[in-house]
């Protein structure tokens, strides 16, 4: 291994020839080979030739690399030296001499390159470095002339001349680094020209294409990718130039939009096609992304086409749609769907025409059997429904009436959507649309209950059944209701269980004939309907539908959101209307009590039928709601008005809900098995708050309410704690503990604030807080541990099984 690696390689070659010619024997050959290879490793003896030749090769490569690095560095140094020397504008040398010098330099360097690159001379590396230096000196010459003659009018011309010269000779000699240099020069030239001189840079494409072609022929992966990237930039630059200069409002602009989309589509297809070729896979990605970029180009035109933005969007979306339809490209459908949607939202006049693209897209998605697309179409259709509904409201109508009308129309629309969803969900291709309709339908049904079940003034709302100022809406209401009835019949024919759907479709028809501008009618109808639907949904979603169905999920959404929304409303009213604070809070307690009892009733009924029902979900929500109301009522509340002085609707509602509760208590106490404690608690709260509600008045001292509700609160928290041990729930325990802590602390501040001086108060609070916290924590821990051990015991038992 002392000898030169190349020599050994040569030697091995020769040895084989010598054996063939009979100069030496193959044994001698092996011995000679061993002599050179033995020191590498003892194992090498077995397959010396192969292994070591390989070793040598890598060694040889390293040698070449080193010389390359040295020559490369040297070339760089000289190049920098040449440039800096002339740039320093050395004053001791007259310009003429400098010029002569540069000419000599150019000729010498190129001459040297020419000499060394002759095939018979084996100093190609030196030749190539001289060639590069020649190009550098040419560029330096250009700069020198500019310097001597103070030329500054169009500095890019010099760059271009340099780039072309370097490019020509690099292409001729296939000099990679020269091409790289000229590409950098061309790129600087292009950016400079485009940004400063406003030149579109058409020329830039030519050298890039040539470079791409040469790289492809030489199978230079990087060269191809770089030229593809530069071409993409070139394309975008020209596109922007055109947008800037030629996109006028009218046909030219629209034609350009279409052109961009077509080019983009071709590029995407081309990208997909090239992806199969091994050498071009990077190029294909570049092409593909450029295609996408071309799709977005019309975005930059919108500014130039104002005020006709909507036409611009329509043409943009249509072009993408048309091109995608030809190419069967589903992505394009999605994009055009989004663009059409944007158009319909931004359009200044009502976008009635939106239905056309929606229908075309639906058909296309249907043909493609694309689930997502069909779902998108379904959403678009639902959205489209609101365009006429909103825009056809008579101009004279006030803002409030407009929104009430839209909310009212949710009823038949929900019915229609639920029916349509039911029908479509059986279809093989349209099932995703069916799903969208079902989900949207159920949510639409929730909206009116949340939005208009309040004592708001809707006197101006025209009656639907009168077909007066809002006849189109009345007609629409009827049409939707009838359509949903027809849907119901179709579903009935299919022998589907309609018990949960039927009331939802029937209810809107009843609403149509009710005077909803009358507050009492509306309030009573909606509240009774709300609790009725909570009951129906809870019951049927668990008796008809399977596990994890949307109907079950929605049942919880419906019940919980109604409790939360009502709670927020009642509590807000209680804050605003101080004189009826208690009445509002108790009103909410009544509402929650009914919900809670219904939930329990469903549980018992389903239990009787042998079905499981997760009763605790709604239980928990009700528990939190009731606790919160009682807590808020436990503060110092003064000068309450009697409920009998309130509007008649309040009394009516109260009586209805009390009657409902009493009826439910009677039913439940008959049926109930075990777990009565929670029912008793609810009964206590119900009775005491009911009594308070009716006895409250200006003459009653506030202490009575306070004592009642503080007591109730304490009982509630204690029962929760006890209940937590009954059903072994750590969550309830923690909640009850937190509740008691909050209760005690607020009460402490609330009642004794003015009896002590500030500092004393805080010291005692601190000590008490610490002690109380310690005791509670200890108790809680004990309880937790108790629960845990019993849970562990159960688990152990199960694992034993």
């Amino acid at each position: 291994m002392i000898k030169n690696a190349r020599f050994i390689q040569q030697l091995f070659k020769e040895l084989t020839e010598w054996v063939d010619l009979g100069i030496i024997t193959s044994d001698q050959k092996n011995r000679i080979e061993n002599f050179y290879t033995a020191p590498v490793s003892p194992a090498a003896e077995k397959t010396p030739e192969y292994k070591d030749l390989k070793n040598e090769k890598s060694h040889v490569k390293e040698n070449i690399n080193l010389s390359r690095v040295i020559i490369g560095l040297a070339t760089l140094c000289i190049a920098a030296g040449i440039i800096i020397f002339y740039a320093s504008n050395w004053r001791k040398m007259p310009p003429v001499l400098k010029l002569v010098q540069v000419f000599l330099l150019i000729i010498t360097l190129y001459g040297g390159a020419y000499w060394f690159l002759q095939t018979e001379r084996k100093f190609s590396l030196v030749g190539r470095s001289l060639l590069l230096l020649g190009m550098i000196s040419y560029g330096t010459g250009i700069m020198l002339v500019a310097q001597i003659y103070h030329i500054s009018s169009h500095p890019t011309n010099g760059l271009l001349a340099w780039g072309i010269g370097a490019f020509a000779i690099s292409i001729l000699m296939r000099e990679k680094y020269g091409i790289f240099l000229s590409m950098v020069l061309f790129t600087i030239w292009d950016i400079w020209e485009y940004s400063y001189f406003g030149n579109p840079g058409y020329f830039f494409g030519l050298p890039v294409i040539i470079m791409g072609w040469i790289s492809y022929r030489e199978k230079e992966d990087k060269g191809i990718t770089v030229s593809a990237f530069l071409l993409a930039c070139w394309f975008l630059q020209i596109a922007f130039y055109w947008i800037e200069h030629y996109s006028t409002d009218g046909h030219a602009g629209y034609l350009m939009i279409t052109g961009f989309i077509i080019v983009g589509a071709i590029m995407q297809k081309g990208g997909e096609y090239l992806n199969k070729m091994p050498l071009l896979n990077h190029t294909s990605s570049v092409l593909f992304f450029t295609g996408w970029a071309a799709y977005t180009l019309p975005l930059f035109m919108i500014g130039h086409l104002q005020p006709e933005t909507s036409w611009c969007l329509i043409i943009w979306a249509s072009a993408i749609l048309a091109v995608s339809a030809i190419l069967h490209d589903k992505k394009g459908y999605y994009i055009s769907a989004v663009l059409f949607f944007i158009w319909s939202v931004t359009s200044q006049s009502p976008a009635y025409g939106y239905i056309i693209p929606v229908m075309i897209l639906s058909v296309l998605f249907y043909i493609e059997k694309d689930d997502t697309g069909i779902a998108i179409s379904a959403v678009s259709l639902i959205y489209y429904y609101y365009i006429p509904v909103i825009n056809l409201i008579p101009d004279g109508a006030s803002q409030g009436v407009q929104s009430y009308l839209i909310v009212m129309l949710q009823f038949p629309f929900a019915a229609f959507l639920i029916a349509a969803g039911g029908i479509l969900s059986g279809h093989t291709i349209l099932k995703s649309a069916g799903r969208v309709f079902t989900v949207a339908g159920w949510f639409s049904f929730l909206i009116p209950f949340a939005a208009i079940s309040w004592p708001i003034d809707m006197q101006n709302l025209p009656l639907l059944m009168n077909f007066g100022a809002v006849k189109i809406h009345s007609a629409g209401y009827i049409v939707l209701s009838l359509a949903s009835l027809i849907g119901l019949c179709l579903l009935y024919k299919r022998k589907e269980n309609l018990k949960m759907i039927f009331p939802v479709i029937l209810f809107p028809l009843i609403v149509f004939f009710l005077p909803f501008n009358h507050t009492a009618t509306r309030m009573i109808t909606l509240h009774l309907a709300a609790v009725a639907f909570i009951f129906l949904f809870l019951y049927y979603s668990y008796s008809i539908y399977e596990d994890k169905s949307f109907e079950r999920f929605f049942t919880y959404i419906f019940s919980i959101s109604l409790i939360v929304i009502k709670g927020t409303g009642f509590i807000s009213y209680s804050e605003i209307d101080e004189e009826f604070k208690l009445a509002y809070l108790i009103g909410f307690i009544l509402f929650v009590t009914v919900c809670f009892l219904l939930n329990r009733l469903v549980y018992e009924m389903l239990y009787a039928r042998g079905k499981d029902f997760p009763v605790r979900v709604i239980d928990a929500v009700c528990a939190v709601a009731v606790w919160l109301s009682v807590y808020l009522a436990s503060f110092r509340i003064e000068s309450q008005k009697s409920i009998f002085t309130a509007e008649s609707i309040v009394i009516k509602m109260t009586i209805i809900f009390i009657a409902l509760s009493v009826m439910l208590y009677l039913m439940l106490f008959k049926k109930v098995r075990g777990e009565r404690v929670i029912l008793y608690l609810s009964l206590i709260i119900f009775i005491s708050s009911g009594i308070t509600l009716f006895t409250a008045g200006p003459d009653i001292p506030w202490e009575i309410y306070s004592v009642t509700f503080n007591l109730l609160l304490f009982i509630t928290s204690s029962v929760y704690m006890y209940y937590s041990t009954v059903i072994q729930s750590r969550k309830i325990l923690n909640f009850a503990t937190a509740g008691i802590i909050l209760h005690v602390f607020t009460r402490y501040f609330d009642l004794f604030w003015d009896m002590f001086s500030g500092s004393l108060l805080f010291i005692i609070t601190g000590i008490l807080g610490l002690a109380g916290g310690y005791i509670l924590e200890k108790k809680r821990k004990n309880l937790t541990e108790m629960i845990k051990t019993s849970e562990d015991a159960i688990e152990n038992q199960e694992s034993v099984k």
């Binding site: 440039i83 150019i106 700069m143 001729l172 001189f197």
Partner: protein, 182 residues
Amino acid sequence: MKLYQKILFPVIVAAQIAVLGFMITKQELLLARGTKVMLKCQPIDPRSLFSGDYVVLNYEISLIGEDIVSKSGIKNSGNPEKKDIFVALKLKPDGKYHGAAEISENIDELKKRYPLIIKGRVEYAGSTLQIRYGVENYFVPQKEGKIIEESLKDVSVEVSISESGESAISRLFIADKEIKFY
């Protein structure tokens, strides 16, 4: 090297030299044959990456006043920015320096009335026009731009202008004294 490379190599090298030769000849001809005018200026001092230090010269005629602009009606035909423009020069009352008399996008129109016309490019168009003529850079040996910088007020330049309006810096004066760096 293949045969075509052997032939084309010297051709390209010759072409590169010809480019340089052309540039030199063009400037030399302009300087030799062009009409000499004196322009007054105020310099500042930046640096070019390849060509070394230079002084930026800002001439009186670099800014065309509002009256001349409005008289020419040049703004009626769209935004003149980044476009070529011709400026007719006439001797100022001091009898030494030239100033702008009229502007137009068409050289022939000005030729009828004025003998001296210089070509420029509109940099910025407001109510006045900012114009570059290509004689704004004066290259100096490294760190020697200061000489010019120190006497900002008194710098004037002799510019050579061809028939077609091309211009080149011929000589630089400070306080009427020619400055030579070589």
